[in-house]
Every structure is written in C-alpha cells, then in structure tokens.
Symmetry: D2
Subunit: 452 residues, 4 copies
Amino acid sequence: MIITIVGGGSTFTAGIVKSIALRKDELEVDEIRLFDIYKERQDKVAVVVKWILDEELKSGIKLTVTYDEKEAYDNADFIFAQMRVGLYAMREQDEKIPLKHGCVGQETCGAGGMAYGLRTIFPMMKVIDDAEKYAKPTHWILNYSNPAAIVSEACRVLRPNARIINICDMPIAIIDVVAAAMEIKDKQNIVYDYFGLNHFGWFTKIEYQGKDILPDLRQYIKEQQILLPAAYLKDKQALASSNDKNRHTKGSWYYVWKGVYEIMENFPDKLPNTYLNYYLQAKEFVEHSDPNHTRANEVMESREANLFNGIDKYLETGVIDEKVFYAGSHGDWIADLAIALKNDTKQRFLIITENRGTIPNMPYDAMVEVPAYIGKNGPEVISRDPIGLFEQGLMMQQLNCEKLLVQGAIEGSYEKVLQAFTLNKTIPSMSVAKAILDDMIEANKEYWPELK
Amino acid sequence: MIITIVGGGSTFTAGIVKSIALRKDELEVDEIRLFDIYKERQDKVAVVVKWILDEELKSGIKLTVTYDEKEAYDNADFIFAQMRVGLYAMREQDEKIPLKHGCVGQETCGAGGMAYGLRTIFPMMKVIDDAEKYAKPTHWILNYSNPAAIVSEACRVLRPNARIINICDMPIAIIDVVAAAMEIKDKQNIVYDYFGLNHFGWFTKIEYQGKDILPDLRQYIKEQQILLPAAYLKDKQALASSNDKNRHTKGSWYYVWKGVYEIMENFPDKLPNTYLNYYLQAKEFVEHSDPNHTRANEVMESREANLFNGIDKYLETGVIDEKVFYAGSHGDWIADLAIALKNDTKQRFLIITENRGTIPNMPYDAMVEVPAYIGKNGPEVISRDPIGLFEQGLMMQQLNCEKLLVQGAIEGSYEKVLQAFTLNKTIPSMSVAKAILDDMIEANKEYWPELK
Amino acid sequence: MIITIVGGGSTFTAGIVKSIALRKDELEVDEIRLFDIYKERQDKVAVVVKWILDEELKSGIKLTVTYDEKEAYDNADFIFAQMRVGLYAMREQDEKIPLKHGCVGQETCGAGGMAYGLRTIFPMMKVIDDAEKYAKPTHWILNYSNPAAIVSEACRVLRPNARIINICDMPIAIIDVVAAAMEIKDKQNIVYDYFGLNHFGWFTKIEYQGKDILPDLRQYIKEQQILLPAAYLKDKQALASSNDKNRHTKGSWYYVWKGVYEIMENFPDKLPNTYLNYYLQAKEFVEHSDPNHTRANEVMESREANLFNGIDKYLETGVIDEKVFYAGSHGDWIADLAIALKNDTKQRFLIITENRGTIPNMPYDAMVEVPAYIGKNGPEVISRDPIGLFEQGLMMQQLNCEKLLVQGAIEGSYEKVLQAFTLNKTIPSMSVAKAILDDMIEANKEYWPELK
Amino acid sequence: MIITIVGGGSTFTAGIVKSIALRKDELEVDEIRLFDIYKERQDKVAVVVKWILDEELKSGIKLTVTYDEKEAYDNADFIFAQMRVGLYAMREQDEKIPLKHGCVGQETCGAGGMAYGLRTIFPMMKVIDDAEKYAKPTHWILNYSNPAAIVSEACRVLRPNARIINICDMPIAIIDVVAAAMEIKDKQNIVYDYFGLNHFGWFTKIEYQGKDILPDLRQYIKEQQILLPAAYLKDKQALASSNDKNRHTKGSWYYVWKGVYEIMENFPDKLPNTYLNYYLQAKEFVEHSDPNHTRANEVMESREANLFNGIDKYLETGVIDEKVFYAGSHGDWIADLAIALKNDTKQRFLIITENRGTIPNMPYDAMVEVPAYIGKNGPEVISRDPIGLFEQGLMMQQLNCEKLLVQGAIEGSYEKVLQAFTLNKTIPSMSVAKAILDDMIEANKEYWPELK
C-alpha cells in the first residue's frame, strides 16, 4: 500500500504525513512517497517528514523522496495532490495585481484565483495522466490543489474518466471554528448540510447530538460581531477593544472571519463559507487590504520562513527545534477520505463533483460542492431540493466564470478568458477586467497557455 | 374600436396618438381615450393631441380625456400602458441616490430601476384589474411601461392570465440607429434575431435584403469608435474632434452609445443592447456621470419644459408653435403591434414573455425578450438554441435580481429586496447595497410597499 | 414509545409485531396498537399477536387493539400502514376482470393495480390526516400499503408535507431469493443499487463482500432457467423435470420467477424486479393464468384460511397449533427502517420518493424507487446517472399512467382514468381499456370515487 | 436552378413534378432531375414526366433522367428525397410478418415501420453525403421519405449539420379531409396547431376565417361516426348502410379513418393523427386486417399496376391514356416549402425537427413534429406549452423506441433493436417482439445492417 504526495515540498506535507502515519492500521500503508518539481524545498521538508515517521512515531513506514514521475506513481494506491504552481512568488502577483486595479486580490477568488487556475490546469492533467500510466488501475487521486473549483472543472472537461476525488478543507476548517466557538470537543460528531461551488457555498444545517446548533451559533455571531478561529479566540478581548481599523494590527484573516458576521447580519438563514466575503463584501475587503503587503507576504514571512529557516538551522547544527519539527495532524480529513475509499466506511464528506441533478436548479454539468457518502466505489452524492434565487444567481455567475476560464485555457481564447474576468463579481467592469488580465498575462508568461 | 392610453399625460402621448391616427384604416379606430392620475399634465397634453386629431390630421377620431377608470376602460379594445409612477421628480431620486454611493444611477438599470420597479408593480396590477373589469373580454393591454423587466415579471407572478403583451422600444431604437449608420432608408425591411432579458440582451443577426449586415456594422463601429443615433450623426465630426471628456459637452446618451463600441471591441460577435453598457462598464459610466445633474434633469429641462411651457404659452396667446405641436409618429411600433393583433398579420416583434423552453438553458419561468410572430391569438414565440456561458451567467444574475425584487415587493420582505440589490451587477458589495436601499426606502415612502 | 399498525387484521401483522418485539431494545417500544376497520379479522389476529408478545417472547410490550382513530393514533411515534381496502374479495375482482378481457390480472400491476389504487387513495389520506391530528408532531408513517406507486403519488399530490416514508418489501424479497440462490447466509451484508418506479425497477449492481455477484447470478439464472425463492428451491429438481406447463402444478408465482430468466436472457445487463414480468411478458402471463382461479383464490384458500381457521380452532379448543401461532419475523425490514429513523443509523434502504433530480432524465415530480441513507431527519436520497432509453421509455409510460389515475381520482374524471388504462402496457387497446374500466366501475361502486 | 428528385421511379413523381412546373415562376426552375437506383421503373415514370413538362404544360423546364450520383446532384439547389428502399415487395413483408404474430402490420408504424427504418437509414445518409459533395453549398434537402420519424432521428444523430428539412404530408392530407368534410374550398386558409412525433401527433386547434372549427368538426365526426376523405365521401351512404364488417368491402383505409372517430369519442379534445389509430386501437386494427392481403397488395394491384401497365401500353401503342398521364398536382405542399426557403416567405409548415425546448416536457434531443415559419435561413420553430401526461407518456414510449432502433442500427446491436421492438405499443410482449424481429432479420438480410 503506497501513498504518493504530489507537492511534497509544501509546508503542509509534514502534517499530512503525520495524519497518515497515525492511521497506519486502517490504511495498512507500507510506503509514503514525496514527489515535487521543486527539489530544494522538498529535500528540506523531507528531513522533517523522515524524523516524524522514523523518530517521533517509529511508524515503520518507508519514505521515498523522488523527482521522477515513474518512481513517484509506480504502483501507487493513493495520490494526494497538493500542487502550488509558481509557489508564493506567483501567489504574491495574484494578490497584488488585482489590488493595483482596486479589486480583491486573493489566492483562489476573483482575478487572483483565475490566474492561479490558468497556471494549474495543465500540470494537474499531467498528474492524472501519470497516475493513469504508472499507478495501480484501482488508484484514487485525492485532489485538494487550489483553486479547486477551476481545477476540478478542468478535470471534468479534459479527463472525465479520471479516478479523482476533488475535495476542499475549508468547510472542515469552518466547522472547526464553529466547534471552538460552541465549545464542542468531539467535532467529528457534528453533521452538516452544505451546498455551493467550491469556496462559494453555504451551510444550511449544522447538527450536534441531534440538535440544530445554527440558532445558537447565530446568536453567538450576533453578540461577538465576528466568528473567530481558535487562534484568535484567546485574543478576542484585545481584538474587540482595539479601535485600530488598520489591517496590520488585526491580520488579513481577521476581516475574512468578520465577513461572516456582516453577511449573517443581513442574511441570517445560512452560515456562509468565509470565502463568500470576497464576493459579497468585495469593496470593503479591498479597503482593508494593503496593496503592498498581502497574505502571500504574511505566509512567506511566517509559515514558510519558520519551517525552512528552522530546517536550515537543524542541518547546520543538528539540533531539533520542536516548533519546527512537531507537526499537528492537520491532514486528518484527507487521510479519513482515503480510509473511507479503502475500507468502504460510507463516511460523509463534502466533495466537489459534477452536479448531474443533485441541485435540481443548477446545470447538469456544474461542478458543485455537496455532501456525499464515500465507499469503495467512490461517492454517493445526496440529492437536494432546489436552491434559492439569491444563491442560484450568485452561483451561476461564478460557475460560468469558471467554465469560461477553463474553456479559454483549453482553446487559448483571450476573448473567453476576458469574458470570465468580466463576469466575475469581484471585478467592477469590462475595462478593469481587461486591464487586470493584460497585467496578469505579462506576469504569468512562463506559466499560462498562450491566449489569442 | 376604442384605444385607451394609460399615462395620457406623458410627453410621448402626442407621438403615439399620431401613429395611431395615421393607421386609422387598418386599426378601424373610432375613439382614443387618454387616462392619467396627473390631471394638470394630461389636460395640457390633451390640447396638443386634440389639435393633431382634429386640425392637423382631421382624423375624425373621437378624443376622450378622463380621470375615471370606468370611463377610461369601458368597452376598450386596446389599452396602451405607459405609466411613469412618481414622474421625473422620483426618477431624479432613482438616478442620484445610487450615484451618491458611487453606483450607476439609471432609470431602469441597477438600483434606480429597482426603485422604479417597486413603485410601478402595484399600479400596473390595477391597470390589469380595471381592464379585466371594464374593457372588452377580448381586450389587449400593450404594456411598455418601464422598468419593463420588473413590471412584466410581476405580471407573470400576480396576473398570469392577463391579456397583456409586454414590449420595449429600445431594440427598435437601436435598429433605427443601425439603419441610419448603414444608410438604410426602408428600415422596416431589416430582420433581426435577438435574445436577452429586457434592457439586457444581444442582437445575434441583422439582415437586410437577404444579407447579414453585422460585419459591415462591426467595421463601421470599429472605425467610428462609436455607434451614434441620427441626432448625433450630424455633429459627428465636432464630437470626434472634441477633446473634452466632460459629459456636459457630450450629453449622457453619448456615453451610452460609446459603450456599444467598447463592448464590441472586446466581444465583436454580437451587437449589445445599449443598456448592457450600464452593467458591463458600470465603473466607467459612474465616472462620466455628474451626481448633481442627471438625465432626469436633462429631460425636465428640455423635453418636459419645451412641451409644457409651449402649451402654457399657447393657452395664453392662442398662437401655435410648430415645434411644440408637430409630433413625430414615434409610436409606429406600438400601433403596428396593435394591427398585428387585430388583423392577424403575423408580423415579427421582439416581446417580453415567459421563457417556457424558448431559450433552453434559461429557467422555464424567466421573462425573456425574444422574437415572436404576432397574430390574433397573441404571440407565437420562436424557439432558439442554448445561449453562451457569458450571456447566461450575466442573465441569471440579473434575472434572479429581478425575481427577488418582485418577490420582496409581494411579500414585503426587506431581506429579499436587499438580496436583489446585493446581486445586481452595478452594485459592488452588500454593504453598499444596504446603504442605497435604506436611502431609497426613505425617498420612496409614499410609493413603495412596506418592507420588513 | 408507541407503534400503531394500521390494518391490524392482516395475516402479516403477527410477523411484523414479532420483528418489532425482537428489536425492543433499539426501538424502546412500550406499546403496540392494532387498528383496523374490519373488527372480526383483527380480533382474531390479535389473539396470535397477544400470544407472541406475552407468551412466546415475554416482551413486556403493551398491546392495544382498537377500532377508534383517536385511541389508535393518540401520541403515537410510528404508524405502520398496511391497509388492504376491500380485502381479498375485491382483489379477486381486480385479478379476474382484466383476465376476462384477455389482460394481466394482478394485485398491483395493470388494470388490477389501478382498481386497487382507486380504492386506496382516499383511505390513505385519512390515515395521514388522523396521524397529523392525534400522533406526536414528530411521528413517522411508514407506508407499505399497496399499490405503493399509486398510493405514494397520491400522497405527493394531496399531502405533500406528510411525515410519511413510502417503502416496498419486494426488492428485499428478491435479494432474499438472490441470497438463497448464491448461498449467502448473511444477506444483510449484500449492498445493491436499484432504480425504477415501485414494482417497476431494476437492480444495477449487487455486491457482497466487496465483489459484484451479478455475473455469478446471471450464470446461475442461465443454467437454472429460473430464479427461485427458497420455498421452491427444494423442489427444484421436481419442477425442472416436470413437463407439465399447467399453472396449477407450478403455482402462479412459479411463472413470475421464471419471467426473470426470460427477461435476462434478452437483457442480461440488469436484474429486473419480478413485477416487470407482468409488463414485458404480459401476453405469456395471461396464457399461464386461469381466469377462474387466481392468486387471490390461492391466498384465501391457503394463508388466509390457515390463519383464521387455526385461530377459530384454538378459540374452540384452547389448543395452540404451532403452525398457526409461530410467526416468522418477516417485518425485519420495516422495523429496521423505524430504528434508522429513531436512532439516526444512516442505514441504506430503497424508498419511494419524489425524484427531484435524483434520476436526471425522469421528471422532477416522478415518484421513484431509489436507494437512500435514512437518519432521523428522514431520507438522504442518492443521486444517480441518467438511465437508459429502454428503461426511461417504459417508466415514462407507467409513470404517466399512475399520474393520470391519481388525477382522475381527485378530479373524478372518467376521461383521465380511461387515459391511464389506455396508456398501460398490459392493455392492448383503448377499446379494451374502456371495457375493463366499465366492468371495474360496476364492481368497485362501493369503493371508488365517482367518475364522470 | 435545379431540383433533383431522389426516388424518381415513384408513382408519386409525376404529381410532384406537376406541382413544381405549375410554380415555375416562383421557383425559377430551369431543370428537374430524376434519380433512382431502379432503372426500369424510373425510365417508365420518366415517359409520363416528360409528357407533362413538354406536352401538357409546355413548361420549358429541362428534364434529366439519371442513375449517376454526380449527374443527379451536381450543382443542385433542391433535393426532394422520396426513397422507398426495397419497394413494395419489402413493404409487403413489413405488413405481413407482424400480422402473422398477431400484431399491427403497417408501413411506418410498429414492427413494419421499424423494419422499413432499418432499410432506409444508411441509404438516406448516402443522399446527404452525395448532396454535400456535389450540390450547391446552399442546397436544401427536402426529405419526405418514410418512415420519417426514424429517418429524421438518424439524420440528427449521424449528420447533425446536414442541410435537410424533414417533413411529412399526412397532417396536410388530414386537413384536406377536414376541409372536404367542413365544405371549405380555400383550404390554404386553414391555420392549425399540432404537436407530436411524426405519424404520432395531435391537432390542438384548427382555425378558418378566424374561427375555431374543431367544435363543428367534432360534431360532424360524432354524427357520421367516421371522418372520411373525399374519395369515400361520395359513397358515404353506401358505406354507412353496409353491414358488412369485412375489410375487403370497405378497404384498409376505411378503418384508419374510422379510428379517428373511435379515439375522439373517448378523448374529444384534440383531433388525432390517423396513424395514432394503429397504436391506440392496435388490437381492433389487427382484427380488421387480412394477413394474406395487405395494403401493399392493394397498392401493387391498383396504383402501381395502373401506372406501369398504362405506360407499357403507351410504349406499345403510342396512344396516351389520360387516366395514366394526367397527374394531379399532389406535390403542392413540398413545392410550397421550396418556395418558402427560396423566397423567404415565412409560410407556416409542420416540420420534423429537434425539440430543443420547443415542447418543454419532452427531451431536448427528441425529433418532434411542430409548426414553424420557414424562410431562407430555414425554420423558425414555435415554442409551445408543456403537453399533457397522456400524450407525453405515449410519445416517450414511441420516441425511445425510435431512438433505440437508430442506435441499434448504428451499433449493430441486436439487444437495442429488440428493446425497440419490445417497447413499441403495437407489440404485446418481449417474446412476441423477438419472434417478429427474428423473422424480419431473415426477410431483410439484403437490406439491414447486421445485428449482433
């Protein structure tokens, strides 16, 4: 039993590996392979991973670190795909170019997400083709590479028969935050309903111990004027008392979570995915943003720097720094998905999948994010009632934006990509869309397909 | 044979009446009735109308001017509905409030159109009910009251069996401009295909003498960098040489027609309805706008003032001023529609009608604007192929905005109306939507249903 | 915790009660109530039920036998509905009238099923209304009254908000037969996919221990030239060697199970529900039938006579006959469904439910039979791919037949009911449909709504 | 301007040519070409055609008689396709094989129609391909080859871009009969609505001089107990008084027209296409049929014999027999269609076309028969409301039968063709379907694609 991690050089790799190793018995895993195209990064990450597997957990799992497709995929059972094409340097561009034009600059939403999508579509197809070529015929690709909406639409169009499950951890992260706020310890017992596109959806029901906790949560959000992740909760009072509206004090994520409050104040019926904030409060988000220092900078300066500097120091000194080497098992959700597929557990997950009637008033061929029971034959998606006009209107705009982008990438059509940019809710006009697109073409020339 | 004009006090009434009178033989019309709730205006307009019928054309058609529903509708064959609820004073509000918040302020598009819609829905239902009560059972209401998209959706929901045909003259006006640009004299021989929502659509084919003239038109627009109506064409050189970007020099319509060029430069495939400019180039339109002097002001200062001052002067002096009394027959299109219904001519018109599969990839219950053959049983709408992703995405956003607004009006739901405002492409965020809506509630309190 | 059995006088009641009592712990059941309108029958059945609860199982569950709606439904948690309106005397008519006209005479299929449906629709609505009135607000009605397709369509139309789950045991019975044939002991571990209308569907996949057993089953059926239930399996050789084609020798069920072979010989891809035999091999079934002695007669002479004569004998003599008193727990499936609802087990069941996109190429409002995960909020139905043209064509014919019948019943429309009969695949022409319908109106005049 | 008639050897050719020649001015036709694969027949028919063009009408139109594809299609403007693959010898088989098994034996309905369809699909594709290769790029194929439903579905699947309009004259023939019954002379002024599949539809409205004549027609049919074509009308009394139920007295068409009465007696709302009789009164039709002497025999003994014997006699004697040489202009409808396409007349025709939302509750890809306005760009099809459950149920069964047949032909799939036969309403069971199919495979082995 072999699990291959594509994008092995990610700072998240250690956490994923830890989650896998902790489920060794259920997964019956013999070997983990790290595969990346960025050698320097992966070689460093592998130092930590090796320590976790051999020293910390004494797991007995073999570790392979490779830069060769055949070695990476050969006979693999599961491929965990977590690519970041262009790394943080390009993410920085994705965020800063739109901001320069007064628009939301974000990793997966709006113009930034579209730029990232155009970089990722074809590398993702290569993963699918390599897996098809080398891995076990019964392999599964678990794909959580961003921007997941665009990547999964491209899979649907270009590789409709791929053995791939597209999935996103953001709903899970939101439920974590809900659990913390509601002081629920056994968050795995929270059951929720949700619908939408990826990074563009709504929780319609959240139940715990047979009780709908949405009313309590609504009350909590109303009182706090924010829904905060655990990391912030301890500083809640400090944050609340701060009169400082400057984003540097509060961090870019602060306003994302604040957005949930703003949206629910007006539309209290459902709990929105935090990403809806970028679409529904685009103007306000831009106002809170610093066009010269975005989240890409934050990440490079903190998470990235901490890990790679820490490893460098270890390689120099041989002394292990716990803050660097001890990973949290933040890949539990993806390891659980592998278990569900392998052991036919029929556990419930949100997945990104072709609609095919599941949401009756969305197109048949929309890639939607909905609950499914997962077993060894893959997902059994749950049918739901038609959605409301507000959500349908927003989703159709966003969906067709994503579809046009993918078609534009495949056909190399400047016009279609411009239509995608023009249609996007975060962009205020066709002329602005064109200005951003033209800047992005320049910035992405090493990565994008040529657009004519 | 009786034709009732609802909104008889409009400055357009004289032109409509003239078109009717010139078709006296085909329409076999015996009596025209003017009906309005604004007595002072209608009494003045009636002076001109009477002069046209009796003096200018010696038509022999009886004129009735009334403020009583029964007298207005009794035994009528056709009701021409052209209401403007709140007159130009409220239109000024519709235009200025959004501009104050940095958004497109326009009569029928965006927030302004929604405000106007909320004023018009219930008065329009009263027209339908009164016609049902008093007019001939075979009566037809020809409705071109704005905002037509919202008004016709409200008819569909509230009076699904009304004998009403919703129609808009903007596509006809655009074809007039095309004819002028292409130097076509017999514009009635131009045949076109079109799809969209009202004030939100595209010409897909324009044929004259068996030839597709879209390529020539495209070339013309590219060269001129604008598509101009005849009134402007004579000043084309002056306009072109003018370096002045100030809208006062060029007039608000100048930028509307300029927008066609901007859109076709990027998306040359179709000829957009000029109104799409407000949605696709919203930001640029706001930049060209003067928030203290909008088109409502232009109209009040020119068309309205000219007519009513002229009539006042005549009433004082008894001297007829030709510029005031001689109307163009600018109601030809609506009189032709009446002829088609009466005489079963199967002439081709664009109408606003429930989709019912006509555009296969739009909802069954969307009110769409599409070609139909008109005969005495009403319209026979022409089926068409699925539309493109770009147009579908834009239309779904706009359609659901309109549907939410109508539902909000009927249910008195603040939340649904706010969803409508938030969804609209001319409004950059939920918070801005709320700010505009709250200002508009205040400004419209005499007119709107209460929203809770 | 109270369970009410509507149709308590059924010969199946004892088996249902036994299944409930054996699940006493999971169901936490305190009281079982038997309710019927046929006093004589229910009083006798209650003798056996009481013996099972008190003597055989010493269950401690209270038994109430009632003929009063309020007493029956008051505060009930679950209502198990198993009505047979008109009893076997009317079933005999349902079977014999069509046969007289050369058509399939069957309890739930064809003309017989439609007659039975017209008797059952309104009594079923009374059950729903009484439950709504008297039972707990959280009650569930588990309805397995036949003809389930028609009854559940009527529920959908007339009581769309009823807390009812419509379910049928035939797929379960077929899987039992499959398990016996494949020599699988733990049949609860067989997982299957299925789609269709009630009594009109197909198994598309049958898995056991992670393996698709359809190929083996296909081979078995091919070799045996029949799929036989366990009761017949022991006599297989005798049956096989018998050259006698007379149905009296082989029993009416023999040919039903034989039909599976005939259908799979031509269309081996799926395992058909046995009832499809009546539609696809209608002519052959009529040829095997004895118009003077149908299954209703078989049942009255065997199951009905055995039970009621046995009870009479006991009441006379006080001696218990084991063959009469010892019931099999043949209500396991329905008791398990109650447990899933009560304890949120998310067990997988086939249910009859409104389609709402689940089968994308069937109408939104079709009542279809498909797999669902059942929890305390009711069913979560699994979306599936579009079905094939053959199955869609058959299902649309049958579906619209059922819909027309229900509409005809509600509107009292002779024309719609005649359309239903004419559309049915078991009836060869409109004139034959009319002849059968007219005979049935006469036979059912005490039961049917008047048709004009 | 060149018109090519494919199937020039048909007994209908003379009438078609006459209709063309009489419209010489509107069609501006220079040359008519007859093309066939049956030389002996076409050479004889050409004798009559030549006489009509040169002697009777002195038309000045050039006649070409050819057996070479290139010569036939070269530079042609219109291709009139009226093939009969296998001639009357095979039609006789189509009618007699089903009757032998107790089923409707008919040229285009039921098993006979399917057999004929399997013979015609691929020859029709050859016509399209040859036209594509040799004819003008702007050519139109007007196809009225039977069985039109199956042929047009095959065109849709195999040649979706063909410049073909599929059309059937049966609705026109029915309107002729209605006109005769209602004593309307100017039948071209009758306007009707209609929906269905080809040979499987309903008139929903028939108007003349602005009045709905369906109520009068209904009354007429009720009184006469039949709707009779003009040819029979003169003998009405004799027919009515005849007690003889033997079909030989009354002719096979008598019962077809009688069927309209039988259907309208029960379902008076619409006027059915006469062909529905074969589906709704299948059993009765079989009872009236003589399995040893069918309509193919009638035609061979009368129309075919009269023409070819007459021509033989002329060729021997040189004496013209008027009954043989004088053709009625029974191709008016198809010549008018050519005029509409050529001269952009926007005349209204029923055509067979892909549904694409026209009938909202039929599949997008159904070939339906509906009204359209015809101009030089082809048909503009009229959208309509959803159809009733009865008609939808019947149509779905028949539609999927036709689709399965076409798929079966393309894939060479015995199973799909058997599914088509099993699904057909005229065939009472799968086993009967198989027996007929196997006989037909044998009879058609020179014509059908191989089925495995």
